[in-house]
Symmetry: C2
Subunit: 329 residues, 2 copies
């Protein structure tokens, strides 16, 4: 029993992860999910041992979000086929309580359907929603880092109409919102400014015809053109996971946004900022606004974290210890 439950050596594990060893990636994600103190320490060492160059400047973190029933899973399967054809490795992190990947009534059926399209070289990890982080588990960020060390593309699938607070857009380089034909609610949320504008908009089930075209033109009318020529122009596309229409174009648009980020020197800063915000959000959850004030306030904390550039668990633990030291038992 001892041997079965032994915690892995973090540095060796990090090495195997960056060699795209699937079982190492799975072990690394389990380690991040393990709350025991010894596991926490090893998880911190694992994250510190991941190749910095990859985490800062390589790969592509793609967020796919949209209401349940919109066909995110079939779209994911179709996208993965295109990416694999282009020779890219793919990891999927499914954080969707209604997703057939992460659970739900249709689990068995849909997974079989999916596996028809996914070859053995696609890594899938599902993550139940735990009610923290406005629906997004606190582990999504460190797990994304591990997968980024292993794969060319890391797709994070979440449910939502993109309310700012439960938004994957604070975790991924490129956010893609999937709407369905005649999905009035989503357009209304976008118009009302309740929904964060994604980097790419796609209307799925384009084979439905008129409804899809109508939704597409409504979405296009909602989008503001960028105020500077240099700014990213949000594309709104139609696609059909069923017929395969528009999937290549969707993959192209996602890649175009990554290229735009790289060309403007934004990839590393954007990720550094996500990490700083992730740390502050965890501190807020554990110690509240009062704790953040004790650490000098949010703006100062944010910029010092972005500058320091350490691995996430180490940065977090340093600040945590500083706060605990000021508490009278």
């Amino acid at each position: 029993m001892q041997a079965l439950h032994a915690l892995p050596d973090p540095e060796a594990l990090a090495q195997s992860v960056s060699e795209q060893d699937f079982s190492a990636v799975a072990k690394a994600l389990n380690l991040l999910d393990d709350r025991r103190p010894d596991a926490r320490q090893r998880a911190a060492r694992l994250l510190a041992a991941l190749p910095k160059q990859r985490l800062h400047n390589a790969g592509h973190l793609v967020g796919l979000t949209g209401p349940p029933g919109v066909g995110k899973s079939s779209l994911t399967a179709a996208l993965v086929r295109v990416w694999r054809k282009r020779g890219l490795t793919v990891g999927i992190l499914a954080v969707d309580p209604s997703s057939p990947i992460s659970g739900g009534a249709l689990l068995g059926d849909r997974l079989r359907m999916l596996s028809g399209g996914l070859d053995a070289s696609v890594f899938i990890r599902s993550l139940a929603c735990r009610g923290e982080f406005g629906g997004l588990s606190a582990e999504v960020w460190p797990m994304s880092l591990v997968m980024l060390a292993a794969f060319d593309i890391v797709l994070v699938e979440t449910v939502g109409v993109g309310q700012k607070e439960i938004d994957v857009s604070k975790l991924t380089d490129t956010t893609c919102f999937v709407a369905q034909p005649a999905s009035g609610d989503s357009i209304q949320f976008l118009k009302a400014g309740i929904m964060e504008v994604p980097h790419v908009l796609v209307v799925n089930k384009a084979d439905v015809g008129i409804a899809a075209r109508k939704t597409l033109s409504e979405l296009r009318a909602t989008l503001q053109p960028p105020s500077h020529a240099e700014d990213w122009r949000v594309p709104a596309l139609a696609a059909s996971a069923t017929t395969g229409t528009g999937i290549e174009a969707l993959a192209d648009s996602l890649e175009a946004h990554r290229i735009w980020l790289v060309a403007h020197g934004l990839l590393a800063p954007v990720r550094q900022r996500f990490q700083a915000e992730w740390i502050i959000k965890r501190l807020l959850e554990e110690f509240g606004r009062f704790g953040i004030e004790m650490l000098g306030g949010q703006p100062r904390l944010l910029s010092s974290l972005v500058e320091a550039e350490g691995p996430p668990f180490e940065q977090y633990d340093t600040l945590r210890q500083r706060l605990l030291g000021r508490w009278r038992d």
Copy 2:
């Protein structure tokens, strides 16, 4: 200038509020919104001076929620007409960033339209979303108490597809969700368990015909029948703010839920629990999970707050001081 900005006497203000003096209600809400220490103290005294009997056992806190564009404001106006005809006094608290009441592009037009139907005896207060409390301002609960002391019906209007975390259902006796015809997203959210099941469901724009009837039967199919005969059975209704169809029936359903709460001795306990949860949520925001643990943990804190039955600001401040006392400067 001194006289203009002088803070009101809280006990006299509470008295005027309970006599339905509109300008006193407005002053009381301003006081709750005032962050200065002196104002905070007076706000605490105001809440403590409100008639307990009314806050615990009288009036009706109704939550109206739904995606933007669904016609919540026109429905509100139509409902208010029915309530007024029945001799009830009404206060409206609009917490909706896209609402024509609380702001938005159509503010002027819609308010004029509304005022055509609203007589002078309806009190309206709009509250901008402040990003705290998952979109619901921390002031909504104390403001609801003030309005409850003044009016028979307090309607809290919020935007949302009812995600559990940004839900008005933790603040009002009766929650009514407004769907629009062909609003696939909402039904999917309900099915997926992401949306809290409301007490009353209404499809607005029933004049649209087939689409409304189809949405209504889909919603009805989604609702589980209650497991006990005693349980509340969620009604799904069709209404049209434009033609007035179904508005009387909607008002009846809301009232039926209040009567059900009273008959089961639930009105006071439900409100007491909302207040306890409101206090814990504020403590979580200020001091995090760590703070709650230091106060004995959430379950114990919740039951002690429900038992103690004090006014909200006093209960909060006592716990706050206990935490601050253990912090080293």
